[in-house]
């Protein structure tokens, strides 16, 4: 039963990715492709955050710092040390994982708001280190002329972003598969158990420390890689990625999309990136409108977009036969 459920999900995933893979045939416009690339990048970051925030219940407010770690790892390695861009991309994921591992140490014993505060402090620490090392990192100015990703002799500048599109899509697919397998595994289940009833889960032999470490490092992997890709794509870095604005945007993707779904944040990344671009011409009104939309959606749909969709879907499928334990329990309860 469970296997067939995952097989079905896998089929849906492959179908969705196949649609995205042939999309560039119809979308020739460079700008639209750029938008899709941004949706993929933000989607990766938001979906990864969903692993620690939604499934793990660990409110890691320094998630975007992991993105920044990936970004600066890529930029420093390629520009200052001349490392091959692909190697640097892999290293950016590794560096983010290490950073997340370090971050876990202080928050291991903490709960609730203290996790928020400490992970925030941690992200500020990373930011301050980057700013203070301005000889290498460019400080507050950031770095420019960061080497781009290379594909053999292919000219990445003149293909209307086709190569970047497929790289981003490949990374997104790998990220999505990784996250879904993670949360469906026994490990993922134990993480949810820790979130829902920590004492009981621990008493049943789930290791809080190890599981938290795996949750945060798991959420860091593709966040860091996304950061590295971001560096190779834009070819510059900025300390803005540590700022409150990007955190707000990505966090609202997680919350608007619906927590503990992985797909929800991807969906919200699509919606919010498009909204953000559609309102690009109206200057200061843009953040005002986006902020208002975030608040309104949270007021009307507490479960986010995915919550609204699954509620509709459940209603539909409940008209047929009740499936799985959840539906059965719901039925008994009602």
């Amino acid at each position: 039963m469970k296997l067939s459920g995952f097989k079905r999900e896998l089929c849906g995933m492959i179908l969705g990715l196949a649609v995205l893979a042939i999309l560039p045939v119809f979308i020739q416009d460079t700008y639209l492709r750029h938008l899709l690339i941004m949706i993929f990048v933000y989607g990766m970051v938001a979906a990864s955050w969903d692993l620690s925030l939604g499934y793990g219940g660990v409110f890691n407010f320094g998630h975007l710092a992991l993105f920044g770690v990936g970004l600066y790892t890529y930029a420093l390695l390629t520009k200052q040390l001349g490392v091959d861009p692909w190697l640097a991309l892999a290293a950016s994921g590794g560096a983010a994982v290490i950073a997340a591992g370090l971050m876990v140490i202080p928050i291991l014993r903490l709960k609730g708001i203290y996790v928020v505060l400490l992970s925030f402090a941690f992200s500020q620490l990373i930011l301050q280190v980057i700013v203070s090392q301005s000889d290498y990192t460019g400080g507050n100015q950031g770095m420019v002329m960061v080497p781009a990703l290379k594909l053999g002799d292919h000219n990445m500048m003149r293909d209307k972003k086709l190569a970047y599109y497929y790289i981003a899509l490949t990374l997104l697919s790998a990220c999505l598969l990784f996250l879904r397998v993670f949360v469906r595994s026994a490990l993922g289940k134990s993480i949810v158990a820790l979130r829902d009833n920590e004492e009981y889960a621990v008493s049943r032999g789930v290791s809080l420390g190890r599981q938290r470490l795996l949750t945060l490092t798991g959420s860091a992997l593709f966040t860091g890689i996304a950061g590295g890709f971001y560096g190779g794509y834009f070819r510059n870095t900025s300390t803005d990625v540590f700022g409150i604005d990007l955190t707000t945007l990505i966090l609202s993707m997680v919350l608007l999309g619906g927590r503990a779904t992985i797909y929800g944040p991807l969906l919200a990344s699509l919606a919010l990136t498009l909204l953000s671009e559609a309102t690009a011409d109206i200057g200061v009104w843009r953040p005002i409108i986006i902020g208002a939309v975030i608040i309104l959606v949270l007021l009307v749909y507490p479960g986010g977009l995915a919550g609204a969709l699954t509620a509709g879907w459940r209603r539909l499928s409940a008209m047929r036969t009740p499936r799985g334990q959840g539906a059965a329990i719901n039925k008994v309860a009602s």
Binding site: F59, F120, A121, S132, T248, I288, I290, G291, A292
Partner: protein
């Protein structure tokens, strides 16, 4: 002035500003149980509204009318924010998380709203006291001294309010046990509004302090909010005396570190110390582990 004197003066001055910001954050956290990321932008609004009331180009009211008026208006804004952003989510299991994102979103709205209304040109409001005072060999601005003197008075009044008046005691009671308060017929909704309004007014006062010695910009609240966060983490958010002490300690730490270690390393050092403190005492240096005021 001696090095020691300069370090102490800077510590007291920065500590006063940090304390003024941090107490409001702690007040909201203890009574409502949410973290208010609008706090920085409330400070910005306080400064801009004070400018609006006092500046000859705008309304040109005298200081003693304009400043209290600005505090009142910001308190009202805080009240409205609370009703819009936090009140509807109270009782939900994820209220802490949702409040983070709603207050972040509102802070973005208000920040850009400020930019829209007052424009990007830097402004400043007149200092509380215009002169400089000779202290030993060097001159110190009277505005800074005024801030150092006023802050303990204001914070002392807040402490008295929370500990010696019926309404203040009610606020602390809500902080300790909301259900019981509801059972004995206290108006919890009104107390929430009061806590938020009071916190907003304190933030506005900090904004007026800032606007008197630095140029104002719509983004001016971000850094003080970050510092206030550090202060409440350091001092513990479970009461208001912890953050006040922590504010002065951090002011001193920064002054010493800037002098001996250097300007660029000070923030990194501060955050490193902070993380170590939290590892040893997660609930902050001066806090008992329970949530309660004063």
């Amino acid at each position: 002035m001696t090095v020691l004197g300069q370090i102490l003066l800077s510590a007291l001055f920065q500590g006063s500003l940090y304390a003024m910001m941090a107490v409001g954050l702690a007040l909201v956290w203890t009574t409502i149980g949410v973290f208010n990321f609008c706090h920085g932008v409330l400070m910005t609004l306080g400064a801009y509204l004070a400018w609006q009331f006092v500046d000859p180009e705008a309304l040109g009211l005298p200081m003693f009318v304009a400043l209290p008026l600005a505090l009142l208006v910001v308190a009202a804004i805080g009240f409205a924010l609370q009703a819009l952003l936090i009140r509807p989510f109270i009782g939900r299991g994820d209220v802490v998380l949702v409040a983070v994102i709603t207050t972040l979103a509102a802070s973005s709205i208000l920040k850009n709203g400020t930019l829209l209304v007052w424009g990007p040109r830097p402004k400043s409001i007149p200092p509380l006291a215009p002169d400089t005072i000779a202290l030993g060999a060097s001159n110190v601005s009277a505005h800074q001294l005024a801030i150092i003197a006023i802050t303990p008075v204001v914070l002392g009044l807040v402490w008295l309010f929370l500990n010696r008046t019926r309404v203040g005691l009610a606020l602390r009671a809500v902080a300790q046990n909301e259900d019981a308060c509801q059972l004995v017929g206290m108006n919890v909704t009104a107390l929430y509004a009061l806590a938020f309004g009071l916190a907003a007014a304190l933030a506005a006062l900090a904004g007026i302090f800032f606007g008197g010695f630095k140029f104002m910009s719509p983004d001016m609240g971000t850094e003080p909010l970050t510092k206030a966060l550090v202060v409440v983490i350091f001092g513990g958010i479970a009461n208001i005396t912890g953050p006040i002490l922590a504010a002065y300690i951090i002011g001193l730490f920064e002054a010493v570190s800037i002098y001996y270690v250097g300007f660029y390393w000070t923030p990194a050092l501060l955050f490193a110390v902070l993380i170590v403190v939290l590892m040893v005492r997660p609930e902050g240096l001066f806090a008992r582990s329970s949530r309660g005021l004063a």
